[in-house]
C-alpha cells in the first residue's frame, strides 16, 4: 500500500510530544462520538503500484479505441504533436497551484496571457478570459453575462449542439432566466426570419447564440443574423469550432459581441469526455462582465514586465454573493495545452488542419452517397454532415463497429451525423463506404 506519507512512526511520536498528545488519533477527540466511524471503510485494502496499474489496464482493455473515427458532434479527434504532451507533462506546470502569488508564478501567468492573446486572434475579439470548464458551460456563462436589469431573455438557435443547449437550459433554470429556442429551417440552418420576428416582439432580448459551423456541420449566415440581433439591441454571440476559425470568418469579422466554444480540438485528447476547455472571448466593452480569471500585463517597481491575475474584484472570492458567476478555477493546464498546440501548428498549420478536415469530410460524403446514402445536410457544410438511409442508422453503426470503425453518430432511426478530420485517410473512407454499400444493397428489408 502506498500512502505518500513521509514521516516514520518515530517522527510522528516526536511530533505528538511537541504538540502535547500521546498519539495522533487523540487530535480527533473533539469530534462527537456518534459521527465517528467505528469500523474501517468497506473498501479494498491499499494496493501496490503494480497492482493498481494492472487493475486500471484491465479497465482500459474494456474500452474500445477506434483507430478509424468518423464521429464528432462536439468532441473531435485531431493529431496532437508530441511537443504538446511534452510541455504539459512538466511538473512545474502540472502540479502548480493557481498563480495568486505572481512573483513566483510568472511562467504560468505568462502562458495564460499568451493563451488569451491567441484566442483573441482566432476569434477576432478584444479580450479573452483564462478559460472555463468546457464549451457548453462557457456558452451558458456567456449568455448569462449578457443579461442585465433591462434585458433578460436569452435566444438560442435550435442548430446549436444539443448538449450545449441543455447546459444553457440548466444554468438558466437555476437562475430563473428565460430561454427561447429559435427553430431551424428544413435546410438545417437557423430560421432567420423567425429570429427577426421573435426579436421584434421582445424589447427585453439580451442575446442570441448561433453556432458556426452548426451542430449539423452547416454553414449559417452570421452576417445576416448579426444585423437582426443588433437592430433589436441585443448581443450577438457565436459558438465556434476553433480549428474552423483558421479558414472561416471569425466572430470578430462577423461583428459578434462575444465568442465561445469547445477548445478540445486544440491539442486535448478525446479522453472519454474530459477534461476539456471552454474559451470565452468578447469585445472590449464587455471585459468587466467576463466571468472567470483574467491575466493582465503590468510592471514591477523596477519596470520589469510582469503578469498578474487582474480584475479580481469581479470574482467570487471578493464579490461573494454579489458575483455574477461562482467560477473559481479555470482549466489552466488545458489552456496551456491549447496554447502549445496553436503555437506548434501556427496559423498555417491550423489552416492545413481545417482544409484537410473539410476535404476529408466532403470526400467521405461523396463516397457515402455513391454507396447509396442520401446527403440530407441541406447545403454547404464544413467538416460534418448528415446522411439518411433506408438502412437503420444503428445497423450501420453496428456493422462499422464490427470492422473497428466508429461511424457517424445516429441522430434518429435513419439519420447519421458524420465527421472527418485530417487524421482520416482515403483508405478509411473507402473502407466505410464499402460497408455501407454492402448494407444498402443487400441489407435493408
Amino acid at each position: 500500500m502506498g500512502d505518500f506519507i513521509v514521516n516514520t512512526a518515530w517522527e510522528q511520536k516526536q511530533m505528538c510530544e511537541a504538540i502535547g498528545v500521546e498519539k495522533p488519533s487523540d487530535l480527533f477527540n473533539g469530534l462527537p462520538e456518534d459521527v465517528r466511524l467505528t469500523e474501517p471503510l468497506n473498501i479494498p485494502e491499499g494496493k501496490s503500484e503494480a497492482e493498481v496499474l494492472s487493475l486500471i489496464e484491465d479497465m482500459a482493455e474494456q474500452n474500445k479505441v477506434f483507430r478509424t473515427c468518423f464521429r464528432g458532434a462536439g468532441a473531435y479527434r485531431h493529431y496532437i504533436p508530441a511537443i504538446v504532451k511534452n510541455v504539459t507533462a512538466k511538473d512545474e506546470f502540472k502540479t502548480a497551484y493557481t498563480p495568486y502569488q505572481p512573483e513566483m508564478s510568472q511562467g504560468i501567468l505568462q502562458s495564460i496571457f499568451e493563451y488569451q492573446t491567441m484566442i483573441c486572434e482566432m476569434t477576432g475579439m478584444d479580450v479573452s478570459n483564462a478559460s472555463l470548464y468546457d464549451g457548453a458551460s462557457a456558452a451558458a456563462e456567456a449568455v448569462m453575462m449578457c443579461r442585465d436589469r433591462k434585458r433578460k431573455t436569452i435566444y438560442v438557435s435550435e442548430t446549436v449542439n444539443p448538449r450545449m443547449r441543455e447546459v444553457i437550459m440548466t444554468y438558466a433554470t437555476a437562475a430563473g432566466a428565460k430561454v427561447e429556442t429559435v427553430p431551424a429551417c428544413s435546410d438545417n440552418t437557423t430560421d432567420l426570419e423567425k429570429l427577426e420576428s421573435l426579436l421584434a416582439e421582445d424589447k427585453e432580448a439580451a442575446c442570441f447564440l448561433l453556432q458556426e459551423p452548426n451542430y449539423f456541420g452547416r454553414l449559417e449566415e452570421p452576417q445576416i443574423a448579426e444585423k437582426i440581433v443588433h437592430e433589436a439591441g441585443a448581443k450577438f454571440i457565436m459558438a465556434c469550432d476553433p480549428i474552423s476559425l483558421a479558414v472561416l470568418k471569425s466572430p470578430g469579422e462577423y461583428g459578434a459581441d462575444a465568442a465561445v466554444g469547445e477548445g478540445q480540438p486544440l491539442g486535448l485528447p478525446l479522453g472519454a469526455g474530459g477534461p476539456y476547455i471552454g474559451f470565452l472571448a468578447a469585445k472590449q466593452d464587455m471585459m468587466r462582465k467576463l466571468p472567470g480569471r483574467i491575466v493582465g500585463e503590468t510592471t514591477d517597481h523596477d519596470g520589469n514586465r510582469a503578469y498578474v491575475l487582474t480584475l479580481q474584484a469581479r470574482e467570487q472570492h471578493i464579490r461573494r454573493e454579489k458575483a455574477s458567476s461562482n467560477v473559481c478555477s479555470n482549466e489552466a493546464l488545458c489552456a496551456l495545452t491549447a496554447s502549445v498546440y496553436m503555437a506548434a501548428m501556427g496559423a498555417d498549420g491550423m489552416a492545413q488542419v481545417a482544409q484537410m478536415s473539410a476535404g476529408a469530410a466532403h470526400a467521405l460524403r461523396d463516397a457515402l452517397v455513391e454507396a447509396g446514402m442520401e446527403d440530407v445536410t441541406g447545403g454547404e457544410f464544413f467538416n460534418e454532415f448528415i446522411t439518411a438511409s433506408k438502412v437503420p442508422a444503428e445497423k450501420i453503426e453496428q456493422a462499422c463497429l464490427e470492422k473497428g470503425i466508429l461511424s457517424g453518430l445516429p441522430l434518429d432511426e435513419n439519420r447519421m451525423l458524420w465527421c472527418a478530420t485530417e487524421v482520416n485517410t482515403p483508405e478509411e473512407v473507402a473502407k466505410v463506404a464499402a460497408i455501407v454499400k454492402e448494407l444498402a444493397e443487400g441489407g435493408a428489408q
Partner: protein, 480 residues
C-alpha cells in the same frame, strides 16, 4: 522572458501533418476568413526552449512547501499520471456506444462505490468539473427538491461568515438570497443566531466541517437538525474532507448533499489552476434530480442512464474522466487503511506546524486544529507595520509558497496554513524556522519585508494599474 510572440519570426514553423490526400474544398467568399490570425511563428525547437524557460518561473508541489490553507496541495502521485495516459482511456470518444465504453463505466462505478463509503452518501454524479461547479450542481438538487414539492417559499441559503466565496456565489447563481450567520468565539456557527435565521424561507445551509478556520464544529448534529426541522436541506462543502476522510463522514453528520474536490483531497494535480473535478454525492431522495448520465450495472454489463427528473447537465459529457481516473488510482493505492491514515497525518502535521508558530504569530483559536489552522499577523502589524502580505512575500524569498492570506475574512491579517500529510517533519521544521526568521525581521528591518520578495524573477507587480487600465492580450506589432 520573451513572450512566445516575440520568438521565431516569419517562416519559422514545424510540419506535423502529411500532405493533403483529398481534393481541396473552396468555400464561398462570404464564409472565408480575410485576416490571418497572428499566431506565433515558431519552430518546435523554439517552443521547447520557450516553455522550458517558463517552467523555471513556476512553482510546483515538488519545488518546495506549499502550505496553502483550503487547497490541500498534497503530493501528486506519478502512478496516477501513468494511469491517466493509457490510450484505452485517452482515445475514447465520449459518444461511443456503451458496450465499447465498459471500462469508462467501470471506472465511474468503482470510484463511486468507494466515495460513497468515504462520504456516507448514496449516489454520485461525476459531471461537475470543479468544486464551485459541484456547489452549483448540489444547490440545484436542493432547488429541484423544493420545487418538486411545490414549495416556492424557500428563497434563502444560509452560510457562515467564514464561508469560502464560492458558497454565496453559487447560491446567487440559483437565484437564492444569501443569509450570513456569524461564527461564535470558538469559530463554530453561533447556534442561537442560526435558530433566529432559519424559517419557512430556508432552502438550505452550506457548511464545511471542519470549517475554514480548521476547526471541527462539535455542534454539527444540532446544526443540521435545526435546518432539517425548518424544512431545509444541508449542503457540505467537501473542500476540507482531507481532515476527516475515513474517520468521520458528512452523510453521518446530517448532510444531504455535498461535493468533493478530487484535485484537493484525492491528489489529482492542480495544473496551475485546473482542470479539477468536483463530483457531487447525495442521499437517496435526491437521486432523481441528478444531472448527466449515471452508470447502471445490469447483468454484469454497464449502461448509462438519465434520471427521470434530472436538472439537466452542467457540462456537455460525463465529467473530467481523466481526472476521475487519477483519483481512482489514488483511492486504490491508499485503500482501507491509507485513507484514514492520510487524514490523521494531515491533522498531525497541521498541529505540529501550529505549535511551531504559536510563539511568533497570533493563533486566534486555541486548542487543537484539524488539517489546517489560521494564524494572524495582527499583533505584528500593530507593532511593526508588517502585514500578512509582507510576511507572505518574505516567504517567497525562502523558496516556500506562502500560505493562503486574508482568508477567512473573519480573521484580521489571516494566514491559513495547511501542510498536508505528504509534508515531512523536517520540511515543516525548516518552514517554521524560516517563518520565525521573517517575523523577527519584521521587528528589525520592516522595510526589507515591505519590499520583498528580493530574489524572485520580479518584484511586487503594480496591481492597481493592472486593474485600472487592463492589458489582457499582446498586440502583435504591425509591420512598417
Amino acid at each position: 522572458m520573451k513572450l512566445i510572440f516575440e520568438r521565431g519570426g516569419e517562416g519559422h514553423r514545424s510540419d506535423f501533418l502529411p500532405k493533403n490526400a483529398f481534393p481541396a474544398v473552396e468555400f464561398e467568399e462570404r464564409f472565408q476568413r480575410t485576416e490571418k490570425p497572428a499566431l506565433p511563428e515558431v519552430n518546435e525547437v523554439e517552443i521547447a526552449q520557450h516553455y522550458t524557460q517558463l517552467a523555471k518561473q513556476a512553482f510546483g508541489v515538488s519545488n518546495g512547501m506549499y502550505p496553502l490553507g483550503s487547497c490541500t496541495m498534497k503530493y501528486n502521485p506519478k502512478v496516477n499520471e501513468e494511469a491517466a495516459s493509457l490510450k484505452g482511456f485517452t482515445d475514447v470518444h465520449p459518444l461511443q456506444p456503451a458496450e465499447t465504453m465498459q471500462g469508462v463505466a467501470a471506472m465511474y462505478a468503482t470510484l463511486e462505490k468507494y466515495l460513497l463509503e468515504i462520504t456516507g452518501m448514496d449516489h454520485v454524479t461525476f459531471q461537475p468539473a470543479a468544486g464551485a461547479h459541484g456547489e452549483f450542481t448540489g444547490l440545484q438538487l436542493i432547488q429541484a427538491y423544493h420545487r418538486a414539492r411545490g414549495d416556492e417559499k424557500r428563497t434563502k441559503i444560509i452560510v457562515p461568515d467564514s464561508a469560502h466565496g464560492t458558497n454565496p456565489a453559487s447560491a446567487t447563481m440559483c437565484g437564492y438570497q444569501v443569509v450570513n450567520v456569524p461564527s461564535n468565539e470558538k469559530g463554530g456557527i453561533d447556534i442561537d443566531l442560526l435558530k433566529e435565521a432559519v424559517g419557512e424561507d430556508t432552502a438550505g445551509l452550506m457548511l464545511t466541517n471542519p470549517n475554514t478556520l480548521g476547526i471541527f464544529d462539535e455542534n454539527i448534529e444540532e446544526i443540521t437538525s435545526i435546518i432539517h426541522e425548518a424544512g431545509g436541506l444541508c449542503y457540505y462543502d467537501g473542500a476540507n474532507l482531507n481532515a476527516v476522510m475515513g474517520i468521520a463522514r458528512p452523510g453521518d453528520m446530517g448532510f444531504d448533499v455535498m461535493h468533493m474536490n478530487l484535485h484537493k483531497t484525492f491528489s489529482t494535480p492542480h495544473g496551475g489552476g485546473g482542470p479539477g473535478s468536483g463530483p457531487v454525492a447525495c442521499k437517496e431522495f435526491l437521486q432523481e434530480f441528478l444531472p448527466g448520465r449515471q452508470v447502471v450495472c445490469e447483468e454484469g454489463k454497464f449502461r448509462f442512464a438519465r434520471q427521470p427528473k434530472t436538472i439537466g447537465s452542467v457540462t456537455a459529457f460525463d465529467g473530467n474522466a481523466l481526472v476521475v481516473l487519477r483519483a481512482l488510482a489514488y483511492v486504490l493505492t491508499l485503500g482501507r487503511e491509507g485513507i484514514p491514515q492520510a487524514a490523521e497525518n494531515a491533522v498531525l502535521n497541521a498541529n505540529y506546524m501550529r505549535v511551531g508558530l504559536q510563539d511568533v504569530m497570533d493563533v486566534p483559536y486555541d486548542g487543537p486544529c484539524m488539517h489546517e489552522f489560521v494564524a494572524s499577523a495582527k499583533t505584528i502589524k500593530k507593532e511593526t507595520g508588517v502585514a500578512a502580505l509582507d510576511i507572505a512575500k518574505g516567504m517567497i524569498d525562502c523558496e516556500m509558497h506562502p500560505p493562503t492570506i486574508y482568508f477567512p475574512l473573519i480573521v484580521d491579517e489571516a494566514m491559513m496554513f495547511e501542510p498536508t500529510e505528504t509534508e515531512s517533519k523536517e520540511s515543516i521544521d525548516r518552514a517554521v524556522e524560516a517563518i520565525k526568521g521573517i517575523c523577527a525581521k519584521a521587528y528589525k528591518d520592516p522595510e526589507e519585508l515591505h519590499n520583498a520578495p528580493h530574489h524572485a524573477p520580479i518584484g511586487r507587480p503594480d496591481e492597481v494599474t493592472a486593474a485600472r487600465h487592463p492589458v489582457v492580450r499582446y498586440e502583435v506589432k504591425e509591420e512598417e
